[in-house]
Every structure is written in C-alpha cells, then in structure tokens.
Amino acid sequence: MELNRLELENFRQFFGTQSMEFSQEAKQNVTVVHGANGSGKTTLLNAFIWLFYDEITLTHPNRIANERAMAEARPNGQVKVSVTLEFDHEGRQYTAERRKTYRKTGSNDLSGQLADESVSLQYIDTDGNHKKRSNPNSALKQIMPRRLRKIFFFDGETIDELSADDGQEQVQAAIRNIMGLEILERAIRHLDTVEGRFEKEIERHGSNELQELVQRKQELQQRQDTKESELADTQESRRQTKNELAQVEDRLGELENSQELQQEREHLRDDLQDVEAEIEDINDDIRSDISDRGHLPFAMPAVEETARMLQEKRRRGEIPSEIKQQFVEDLLEMEECICGRPLTAGTDARDHVAGWRERAGSSDLEESAMRIAGRLTEIGTEQEALFEDIDRLLERRSRKDEQKRSLQERIDEISTSLTEEAAEDINELESRRIDLESDLEALTKKIGDLEGDIRDLESDIEEVVEEIEDAREENEIAELARRRAQVAAYLRNEIESLFEKYQNDVRQNVNNRVNDIFQRIIEKDFYAEITDEYTLRILKDVGSAEGQIVAKSTGERQVASLAFISTLISLAKERYESDEDATYFTGGIYPMLMDSPFGYLDPTYQRRVSSMLPEMASQVIVLVTQSQWSEEVAGEMDAVAGVRYRLEYHDPREDPNVEYEYTEIVKEVSV
C-alpha cells in the first residue's frame, strides 16, 4: 500500500476542504507534518482510523463535523463530512471515501444529527477500468487489517507499550498479522470447526445397530432351520402314517367279512369328496357375488334419496323446464319475440326476454337428469337380483351340507359296524385305522402350523435383511465421515506445525533485525531481543554470564518498539516482493504513520531516529509537535523529507477575528 493523497472535508477541526499529498520519493520517502500541541496531528491520525474502521479514538468521538461548518449552517441545514484517501495497493489505484452528513437541529447545535452516511472503495484495474468494491467496509479492513491499526497508525507516546512486560500478546499478534500468517491461523480455526461437523455426522450415522441386527438375523435363521427340520420329520411321519392307513384299509378290503363295507366306505368317501368340492364351488360363487355386487345394498339409501329428489323436481315442473335456453337465445338473436314485439338492444322487452335465460333449463342438464333417473331404476333391479342369487346359492349349499352329513353318518356307521365285528382281526384293524386317521389329522395340522411359523420367520428375516442394508449404508456414511474428520484433523495439525515454524522463523528474523536497528540508534551496551515468549525486551550487557538486566528507560523502550515495527514492515515488504510461492505467507507493503515519535527521546536519539526514518518503511509519515521540532530533528528531516506540512491552528482565544477553532494544512516544503 502506498499513500498518494488525503482529503478532509469538515472533519473535526479541519474546516472546509483540505488536503495533503504524501511523498513517494525513494530517498526522501518521509512526509512530515508538524504543528503545535492541539493543532490537529492526532486528529489527522484519526482521519485514517475513521476512514478505515469508522472509529475515533479522540474525546467526544461523536462530534465528527467541524464546529465552524456547523455554526455557519442554518437550522435544519446539512453539513457534509468526509475523508478521502487515494492510494495504490497490489497493482491497483484505489480511492476510498467515508462520508457522513449531519443535520443541524437548532441554532445552537454544533454536533448535528446524523442524516446520512456512506462508504465507497473504487479502483482502477490493470486494464484501466473503473470498478467498485461491493463490500467496501470489509475490503478496507482487508487492505489495512484492524488488528494492525496500532502498528501502522501508532501513537509515539504509547508505542513503548510493545516492549512493556505484558506486551507479548501485542508483539505476537503483530508478527502474525503483518506477515500474512493469519491465513494459516484462520485455516487452523476453520478446520477445527469442519472436523467438528464431520464428528457430528459420525455421531448421527454411526451406531452398534448393525452388529445387533446381524445377530438377530442369525438367531432367526437358526429358528428357521429348526422349524424346517421339524417340518421334514413331521412330513415323513405323515407319509408313513398314510402308508400304514392305506395298508390297513387294503387289508379290510380283502377280508371277507369286511370287504363289502370297506368298498362301500370307499365309494362313500369318493361321494363325500365330490360333495365337499361342490360346497366349496358354491362358497366361491357367494364370495364372488358379494365382491362384485355387495355394494348395492349399501348404496340403496343414497339411490332412493336421489330418486326422490328428481321426482320432486319433476313434480314441481323443473324437469323438464317449460322454456329451453336455446329457444331464448334464438329469439334474442332474431331481435323479435313470438308475439311480434321487437327485441332490439336497450328495449324493456329485450331485457325481459333475456331474463328468461336464468329460468330456462339447460338441455344437457335435463338429459343428464333423465339418464340418472333411468340408472336409478336399474340399480334397484340389480339389488333385487343379487338378493335372489344369494338366496339360491345358500339354498343349494344347504342341500349339499345335508348330503354331506348323511354321507358322513353312513361312513361312521360302517366304522362302528366294523369295530363291533365279531372277527377279532377286523375290529382290531378298524380300531387301528381310526387311530391312524386321527394321527394323520394331527400331523396335517402340525405341518400347517410349522409351515405358517416358517413363513413368519422368512418374513422376519427379510425385514431384518432390509434393516441390515440400511444400517450398512448408515455405517458407510459414518465411516466416510470418520475418514474426513481424520483428514481435517491431519490438515489442522500440519498447518499448526507450519504456523509455529513460520512464526518462529519470523521471530528469529525479527529478533536479529530489531537488535540491529536498535543498536544503530542507541549505541550503548544495550541490546534488544524478542524472547521465546514473544516479549520484546532490552538488556544491558554488564560483562558477566548472568550480567543481563532489563532496561527500564522509556526512551530506550520507545526506540526498541520503533525498531520492531520498522522490522515487521520491512520483512512484510521483502516477502511481498519475493518470487517465492506465497499462498499463505503473502506479506505486503505498508506505510508507517507515526504520531509524536520523539516524545521520550533525548536530542541524540531524536537525530538518529530521524536519519533512519527512510529505511524504516517504504513510506513514512511523521506527525511531530513543535516542542519536538528541535534543530537536530529539523536538520535531519530536511534531508529525508520529500514534503513537509505545517498545521496552522486558529485559536479564538488568541485571535478575536476567529469565532470557532479550526486548523489549516499548510504546505511548507516540496521536493
């Protein structure tokens, strides 16, 4: 960043529009602004702070508008306040402007009420096109990070804070920020957040559910195997029982005294089977009728109600209507009534006939009503037919049931006769046959139950398999999230190491340079260092191993702080201009704006600091008080300053022609 020009308009004590240009000469890169105490040097420093951060570090921070401008404005009039800075940054020419407008609320109002405010940041790109940054406040803070405020725009009277015992945080932050290490710092913080997001995903999708489901599936399969084995055994038992039963019946068919009855029983069984089949057919017919036409009895109340309504409309003469809509339309089109009256537009007769449109019936509606009426009659007939068909089927089934009962009775009688047969082998055979038949029935039932159990188990297994697939998918998501979380953690750790390494490298580098600059100014047995804990301290070598003491002089600490800031600015510039890959270590070119940098320095140090100013940054702006403007300083400054301004303060206490205080920027020297 290289400052070109600053323009102030009614900002604090600067009345009207005033401006200054900054020196950009390589050897005389210092811009000096000097003035008496209270002339506005710190206000000038605040103009930068206000422009970049919308902040004021002075007393009465809300009094932005110049008092004289406010006094001269009429009540309800407005005073425009603005700070405009032209600068170059990363190959672009920028113009930044912050503007606020204050309304004077009464004749004695010198502060004004904020009426409007805006900030803009325009630039000319490398092709010469004028463009605007869409988010100027953020962009300004990006160009000149707020955290670096105290480094770029520093107050010389408090700069020694950096080398105070508790200044290490500021020193560390300054090193980190100015060297562009915030990219690494931010990446560490953000990767930590991203890792947390992945961990939440693991929590959401990962569980022990899959293992539990696999166990359940195995249990179900085991139970299924047991049931299938039991089913196979039972089917075998039934097959054997059936065989034995067939053998017993064959034997009964062979024996003379049972042969006839056994044959009759076999015929009866065939008949019984036929009758049972017929009963099943009848049941199918009943089910089919109920399925196809079973709704009719339930629909009948609605059908009857609709029929009643249509009947009522017919009774009232609404169906069919006495006039057809088409007939009315035809009369209106012909413009003549059937009585011969003209039906031209605007006549009462036409309006009267047109009124019949609403009363006339639609032929479509009437046709629909007629169709519905016909269909209602059919529905009634269909319902009656359904009842008749069902009655007929029930009657048939009743007859077949009777036939079945009779066949069964005869079969039972045969069995009784055979059981009571005198021939021992016959009655034993019959008893055995009865037992076998009973066993067969029990086995058949058991097979049915087992088959049902197996079907249920199969269905349960299918469900578990689906759940396992879902859980496996969830598990895969959790596993992926776990890998991603690991990668985020790995990257964070790597960047942390990189961050520490660069920070330490820079600290070492800064350490050497700070001491170099410090010793060129101080020229004593003092030396400056930045400790491992980032404390900037000044030590005095007393010539023994433990002979190092920390210096307490404010002047020396001020020089050390100045050397530190200058070092950071020059390192950032070197990094920015180097050809090294600088994805995360960009550096930058920054000016140095110092308010009262010679406050606590004796004349020798003032002279030395003055002579070294051009080396401290690519551009240096020094705001210096009249009391510090010693011969030594002025002499050195003449050699290094490219441009010099004086702040001329107009004090109403000293000049009766001045009603309100104000400051003018007066250019004194220009190279």
């Binding site: 962009a139 953000h190 991203v194």
Partner: protein, 37 residues
C-alpha cells in the same frame, strides 16, 4: 495431502482477499468431501 492443504489455504486466502469470510467453513468442508469419498 499437500494438494489438499494447498486447496484449503487457497480458499482461505481467496476469502480473505475478497474481504468476505462468510461460508469458509462450508468451502473447506466441500474441499475435503470432494477429495475423500
């Protein structure tokens, strides 16, 4: 992994350069998701 780290740092740099850091966590998450799948 070096490539991934470069992508992450470039995303940070670009966001910072734009002066609008909103959405950087989403961006970094997407970078990792695209690489680890």
């Amino acid at each position: 992994m070096q490539r991934l780290m470069r992508k992450v740092l470039e995303a940070e740099r670009d966001k910072l350069h734009m002066g609008n850091p909103l959405g950087i966590n989403d961006d970094l998450q997407s970078i990792i998701e695209d690489e680890v799948n």
